[in-house]
């Protein structure tokens, strides 16, 4: 059995009197996708920030390659290959794709940028993710939401990410664009990356993930491998099981 690249055991995080996370556990191995599912307010954002080094946990174990680790900043996490792709993506919309791709880590030759080489790398890297870009000189703003998400993911992969933490990558996207992003999550997995896919949508999580961690009000309410759960059970559990049935019943009676 291989050691997970990133594993957290029973981590908790409090903000004043608010228990944002309580005893949450999660792990991801190379070539696996772990979905973290939860409704709004379940603690997903705090969980991402804890994993990515923004707020270290108050208690619990945080292991990278099996060693106890404490990240002081997102940069420290990045140096260990743990990259977080946030919803706002950190892209400048009016700048060309290739300039965005290398932003902050531009390769230079005697002090100058190398546009030809850089553009070739971008076309190649995006190609590996299955995106054929027409022109790396195109402004990022001309790409669709899904494609922009993929540029941000490809950038993280190129700069040495081993684990990708994706913050609701499909939340703002339509059906087809979500499909594009889900496809790249699979591509990343096939390339041997570990992916932590944070979402509130079981229909997006189920097809691409190997493990499922369900969060509710800052606690883990379920931890399943794919063989242990069906998509219907996943949706049921996530939305609070009995509560949802009661709600459906109520809606049904209003409908009449």
């Amino acid at each position: 059995m291989t050691t997970p690249i990133l594993e957290v055991r029973n981590i908790s995080k409090n903000f004043g009197h608010v228990r944002a996370l309580q005893d949450v556990s999660c792990k991801v191995k190379a070539g696996e996708v772990t979905a973290v599912l939860g409704d709004n307010g379940a603690g997903k954002s705090t969980f991402i920030k804890t994993l990515s080094g923004v707020h270290p946990p108050d208690s619990g174990e945080f292991l990278v390659d099996g060693e106890p680790t404490r990240f002081s900043s997102p940069r420290a996490a990045l140096q260990r290959g743990i990259a977080t792709v946030y919803q706002d993506l950190a892209l400048a919309p009016l700048m060309p794709i290739w300039r965005n791709f290398f932003l902050g880590s531009e390769p230079t030759q005697s002090g100058f940028l190398t546009p030809h080489k850089s553009k070739d790398i971008v076309v190649d890297e995006l190609g590996k993710m299955g995106i054929q870009i027409r022109d790396p000189e195109q402004a990022v703003g001309t790409l669709s939401g899904g494609e922009r998400q993929c540029v941000a993911i490809a950038r993280a992969v190129y700069f040495g990410a081993r684990v990708l933490i994706l913050d609701e990558p499909t939340a703002a996207l339509g059906v087809r664009q979500s499909g594009v992003v889900l496809k790249y999550i699979i591509q990343a997995r096939e390339r041997g990356l570990g992916v932590i896919f944070i979402t509130h949508n079981p229909n997006h999580a189920y097809p691409v993930s190997d493990h499922f961690v369900l969060l509710q009000r800052g606690r883990t309410i379920g931890d399943y491998s794919k063989a242990q759960i069906t998509i219907a059970d996943l949706a049921q559990q996530m939305s609070g099981g009995a509560e949802l049935e009661a709600l459906q019943h109520e809606l049904h009676s209003i409908g009449r």
Binding site: G104, F112, G130, I131, T142
Partner: protein, 367 residues
């Protein structure tokens, strides 16, 4: 690589996944080639670039004035419009970089006066070498640039307000300090101090009606273009103007870029101040007042967006050229010189509309 290929390589996938993935593949398949995307070819991109638009406008303006007033196209006529265009262009390049970085500097106009005054006052009052005065005003300019930049970055207030404040402070100091020291509004006699001749060669000479400022303008435009398009600093400037939070997240030193850009505009104002004070061997308290808007107008004519994130150093220079041609061409063509301001405003509005149109075009398919 299609989804079906993925499935073939992943043998351990349970059946439910296959089914779900098949649905997913169906959803994702057509996205690789989105036929609604307009193909932006190389030629089209050049045609839609800010440099192309302003260069085309410059050619039209030049031909127009040459036809109406033939002396406009003579050697003397060309020297005449290149003279104001050069100092304006030097400023426009620095202001364009700042605007691409998402900020404004309203103190630049008055700064061209202040730096000239500092050079003249230090030289004449302390009875020193002219070069000492030039160096002192450079230190002064860098200090003001640092002050503007640090205040804007630290307070997160609009740079418009911060530099409006420094502009008025400098304006007041220009008058107060000069009249207090010399009891006049003009500091003259700089030419009788040592070092003036070498300074004159560098900042105030001319050949055949063409000023040395032209060379400074061309060199600075080239530096601006290379900096913006061929260095990582140029990448950072556009990113800070386009998405400062995102830029910071990927490791761009946002504070240094911002402060550096304000030092850049202040230093450009210093250069223009020297070009003026050495050429005329005197400095006047009214120099540069109101000129900050001319620099912004030139940068906008050259394709700078008021919202930051995009623009061109070469375009800003061409904007300055258009400005110079209209300024000198209007009286030659027999228009009342007061109308110059009207045309300037009209050109500015047209440029803003074109820039907005191009920006929308470049983001047509967004989200």
């Amino acid at each position: 690589m299609t989804m079906t290929q993925n499935l073939n390589t992943a043998n351990e996938t349970p059946p439910e996944k296959d089914k779900a993935l098949a649905g997913l593949a169906h959803a994702a398949a057509p996205a690789g080639a989105d036929d609604r995307l307009v193909q932006v070819g190389r030629i089209r991109r050049i045609f839609m670039s800010p440099e192309f638009g302003s260069a085309a406008a410059a050619i039209i303006v030049f031909i127009g004035f040459s036809v109406i007033a033939p002396p406009f196209a003579s050697q003397a006529g060309i020297g005449n419009f290149l003279d104001p265009a050069a100092t304006l262009g030097i400023m426009a390049v620095a202001v364009a970089l700042l605007m691409i970085g998402g900020e404004f500097d309203l103190s630049t106009g008055v700064m061209t006066g202040s730096t000239g005054l500092v050079t003249a006052l230090v030289t004449t009052q302390l009875n020193t070498n002219v070069w000492f005065g030039i160096l002192a005003s450079l230190v002064f300019a860098v200090a003001i640039g640092l002050l503007n930049g640090i205040l804007v970055h630290k307070t997160k207030l609009p740079s418009f307000i911060i530099t409006l404040g420094t502009m008025f402070m400098l304006w007041g100091l220009n008058y107060a300090v000069t009249t207090n020291m010399t009891h006049q509004v003009t500091v003259s006699g700089v030419s009788s101090y040592t070092g003036f001749d070498s300074a004159k060669a560098l900042f105030g000479s001319s050949v055949g009606g063409f000023q040395v400022s032209l060379i400074w303008w061309i060199v600075l435009t080239a530096v601006g273009v290379v900096l913006l398009t061929r260095t990582k600093i140029g990448n950072w400037i556009a990113a800070v103007g386009g998405n400062a939070v995102g830029a910071l997240a990927v490791g761009v030193p946002v504070a240094k870029v911002r402060v550096g850009l304000f030092v850049g505009t202040a230093t450009a104002a210093w250069l223009v101040g020297q070009l003026t004070v050495i050429r005329y061997a005197s400095a006047t308290v009214t120099t540069g007042i109101g000129a900050e808007f001319n620099f912004i107008i030139a940068a906008v004519i050259g394709g700078c967006l008021l919202t930051g994130g995009a623009g061109s150093a070469l375009g800003a220079s061409i904007g300055a050229l258009i400005f110079g041609m209209v300024q000198q061409g209007m009286p030659l063509a027999g228009f009342p010189s007061e109308l110059f301001k009207f045309f300037l405003g009209a050109i500015l509005l047209i440029a803003v509309f074109i820039n907005l149109y191009l920006k929308k075009k470049s983001q047509a398919v967004g989200s």
